[in-house]
């Protein structure tokens, strides 16, 4: 499939999903015009990654990592899915891998009793809704990814399943579980 056909398929995806996919605002040939693709997708990818790792600075680094990976693999992109979904898959996998490594490290440090030695870094974007932030921290990285992709980006379950590499039905149960956990976290405060 040449570049023209790929762009045509991408336009088809984008046209059909534009109303549901804020991440697919306009068709872009990512092989020929990756710079514009980067400008178009940066904020969306950053927010997704930020929702998974819950750290603005690390999210910026991981977003750059995701774009670097995507740029290196742009010739392997197949337009059977929107480029935003393809890019989100790369970014979410990068972020979840980092978050899981971080969770493992935190558990080891907790076992060693050294958590008090490292002060948390202040996040300039944190604090708008600290209750919600605390609720998101109760979720595991996979649940946070599903919540952000669905409630912010508006991706359907099928696309979320494609991004996360899980069946569509699993997406529904994952989001349902995540909402239940967040509700339990938020309810006691609202009950006061």
């Amino acid at each position: 499939m040449d570049g023209g056909q790929a762009l045509e398929r991408a336009e088809t995806w984008s046209g059909g999903l534009a109303a549901r996919h804020p991440a697919e605002p306009a068709p872009i040939d990512i092989v020929a015009d990756f710079d514009r693709f980067y400008e178009q997708q940066y904020a969306s990818i950053h927010r997704t990654v930020r929702g998974i790792v819950l750290d603005a600075a690390i999210a910026e680094d991981l977003t750059q990592d995701a774009f670097a990976k995507a740029y290196g693999a742009r010739h392997r992109y197949r337009p059977d899915q929107p480029p935003g979904v393809w890019l989100h898959r790369i970014a979410v996998n990068t972020a979840i891998s980092w978050a899981r490594r971080g969770q493992l490290q935190r558990r080891v440090l907790e076992k060693l009793g050294r958590m008090s030695m490292s002060a948390p870094v202040a996040d300039p974007t944190e604090g708008r809704d600290p209750e919600l932030g605390a609720a998101l921290r109760q979720l595991n990285p996979g649940q946070r990814a599903a919540v952000v992709l669905h409630f912010y980006h508006g991706y359907p379950y099928a696309d979320i399943g494609r991004i996360l590499g899980i069946p569509t039905g699993t997406v529904g149960s994952r989001i349902s579980n995540a909402v239940a956990v967040m509700r339990r976290q938020l309810k006691p405060r609202h009950a006061e």
Partner: protein
């Protein structure tokens, strides 16, 4: 049935949560401008350049230098240690010769000049001036005899002056001994000592 965004907003159980989530996530911007300026293209190159020019490069450089130094010390220690060539040190152009405490070097350094011939001088008496015999008139014994023991004359070969003998003693009784003067060094003739005067 697919659960859509609007469905979730209308759900009593999650009332307000999607709106709060959307507002919260919408507020998440990249806080550091350099992160946006750092293009995906240059990121791998910057990482590579950072390794070669950043502080990690210095740390790596010191580590390599330290390991090389440690390796050199270990190799020298295993082969018997260092030998500092003290005998080959020249300070200010002076030839210091072999250090007395240094081990004998198997072969002289090619830059060394030949060691000078050192002539041992008499260490007991103070040496008289060249070309002149010592005046030993004061060396008399209790008997009054004068043992004139003139020092060797030191007439130089260049000017050929004779050495002068000792003056006669002023003894009272025994005749003095007139020793002969030692030959002058370097061709000078020594003067003979005069005899002591007889006693009354």
């Amino acid at each position: 049935m697919r659960l859509t965004h609007s469905d979730m907003e209308d759900d009593d159980l999650t009332a307000g949560l999607p709106t709060r989530l959307k507002a919260e996530i919408e507020a998440w911007h990249g806080a550091r401008p350099w992160a946006r300026q750092a293009a995906y293209r240059t990121r791998p190159a910057r990482r590579l350049a950072g390794w070669y020019t950043g502080p990690r490069a210095w740390v790596a450089g010191f580590a390599v230098a330290g390991s090389l130094l440690a390796g050199g010390v270990a190799a020298a220690a295993s082969s018997g240690g260092f030998t500092i060539p003290l005998t080959r040190i020249h300070v200010g152009g002076a030839d210091t010769g072999d250090h007395p405490d240094a081990p004998a070097s198997p072969a002289p350094a090619p830059t060394l000049r030949p060691a000078p011939v050192v002539v041992a001088r008499p260490a007991v008496r103070p040496s008289p001036s060249p070309g002149r015999g010592a005046d030993s008139a004061d060396s008399r014994d209790r008997t009054g005899a004068v043992h004139a023991t003139p020092s060797p004359g030191h007439g130089s070969a260049a000017d050929g002056h004779d050495g002068r003998g000792g003056h006669p003693g002023d003894g009272d009784g025994h005749p003095g001994v007139s020793p002969s003067g030692s030959p002058g060094d370097g061709g000078g003739h020594s003067g003979g000592g005069h005899g002591g005067r007889g006693g009354d």
